[in-house]
Amino acid sequence: MLHEREGCSILTLHGVSKGYGPSRQRVQAVHPLSLNIRQGDIHGIIGASGAGKSTLLRLMNRLEDPDEGAVLLDGVDLMQMKEPELREARRSIGMIFQHFHLLGNKTVAKNIAIPLELAKLDKRERSNRVLECLGMVGLLDKAEQYPAQLSGGQKQRVAIARALANRPKVLLCDEPTSALDPHTTNEVLEVLRTINQTFGLTIIIVTHELEVIRSICHRVSMMENGKLLRTLEVDSAGLAQAAELFSGAFVRNKGDEPFA
């Protein structure tokens, strides 16, 4: 099944890099690297904190502008786009975050409707789509509640529904389960897996938890000190290698994050 996807990439980073600060104390968050994300994959990016994985993810929808290189979504280079085009393109790239970033003053349904309002859908279309998305994450009964009334796992599912509202081509996930306990982590991962299987949506997950990779990813890229170490298929051989590399990276970095 994985081999059928070979060669068909939805998102390609080509020679991108990103540094911060003035030239003298410049910190290179991402060294020049290239990466292919295959259509329909759940692609994990794993590394210790400060490895540059979140920055790498933000290059994919230009939340951060790469210093060089190309970001191809479905063959179109985001780097060639001006603001209005880029905003349009971002609507086809969903994104969720570690701390959800829901609007606390809007109900669940209204939160999910925001991207649809930005896309200028009319009211009836909006409410239909909101219900569809709530159904996908299994929260139809929470439509009129406020985020404060939900558990962490439920909040992240609302964020997923919001990210799916505009039918994106890819879904970017920045540490989506790092603020959750193991039980709700599974709840969220299950939703992501189901969405990937049902709609063939490509999902890219940044995480520091090997368990996330193990349970839902098809491929995994390992990062260390802003460099892409390797990209592996997630099978038993790949996992073993990833675990080894990953623990090595932690030891070398004297990583202090919990190893999950």
């Binding site: 971002r90 609507r91 994104m95 609007l103 606390g104 003053n105 925001i114 991207p115 930005l118 404060a148």
Partner: protein, 231 residues
């Protein structure tokens, strides 16, 4: 024991009866000055505070020079002792409303101070929202304007109401010195009738009115901000 109390009450009734026309007029003037200042704060202070927040160094849309300019301007206006500012602004006031005397003229410097005062509280209210909200708005393809009115102002709304409540109470306090440019108002009334004419009872009555006014504004503000805060 009730005798002195009854005597005091009689004094109050007599004083109010004697001056109630002037007193109502003064209250009306205070409402005009504070009303204009509040409107200015909403229409100009809100956008100014939002700009301060967005341009702030370290923010996603930072703009050092623009921020330095706005921030400097706000600080300069806020450094003036208010009484001096009113006098200093006389030429500007004359240019805007054609005269430097009266309630309308007094509203001009008050409006300036109101705008910069509220803008600081707006900036503070916006700083209280989690920073990731901006990132999530941008990731959804929001324009800057949409970011402001569909995300930032929605999340900051109860803070904005609390800030406005504090502001209005300060505007009332500022408005009490407007006698200097013939602006009238309740503060001027208390000085002219209560202090300069030795009508101590009038002074006390005025202060009690102010206390009731401020309390009810604060209670209303708190109530509204709680009502609209769903976080």
């Amino acid at each position: 024991m009730l005798e002195p109390l009854r005597g005091m009450l009689a004094d109050v009734v007599a004083a109010v009866e004697k001056y109630h026309v002037q007193m109502w007029e003064a209250i009306g003037e205070t409402f005009v000055m504070v009303g204009i200042a509040t409107l200015a704060a909403l229409l100009l202070g809100l956008p100014l505070g939002t700009l301060l927040y967005l341009c702030r160094p370290g923010q996603r849309f930072q703009n050092r020079w623009f921020f330095a300019l706005l921030n400097g301007l706000v600080n300069v206006i806020r450094s003036f002792p208010f009484l001096l500012f009113v006098v200093f602004m006389i030429p500007v006031t004359r240019w805007i409303v054609g005269t430097s005397l009266g309630t309308l003229a007094a509203s001009v410097p008050l409006a300036f101070v109101a705008v910069v005062y509220y803008s600081r509280l707006v900036e503070q209210a916006l700083l209280d929202i989690p920073r990731g909200i901006i990132e999530s708005a941008v990731s959804m393809g929001a324009t800057k304007l949409q970011l402001i009115y569909k995300f930032l102002l929605v999340e900051a709304r109860s803070g904005l109401v609390v800030g406005m409540t504090t502001s209005i109470i300060s505007f009332i306090s500022y408005s009490t010195v407007m006698g200097i440019v013939g602006g009238g108002g309740i503060g001027d009334f208390a000085i002219r009738y209560g202090y300069q004419r030795y009508e101590t009872v009038i002074m006390v009555v005025t202060i009690v009115i102010m206390i009731i006014l401020v309390q009810s504004i604060q209670l209303t503000g708190n109530w509204i901000s709680r009502l609209i805060d769903k976080r």
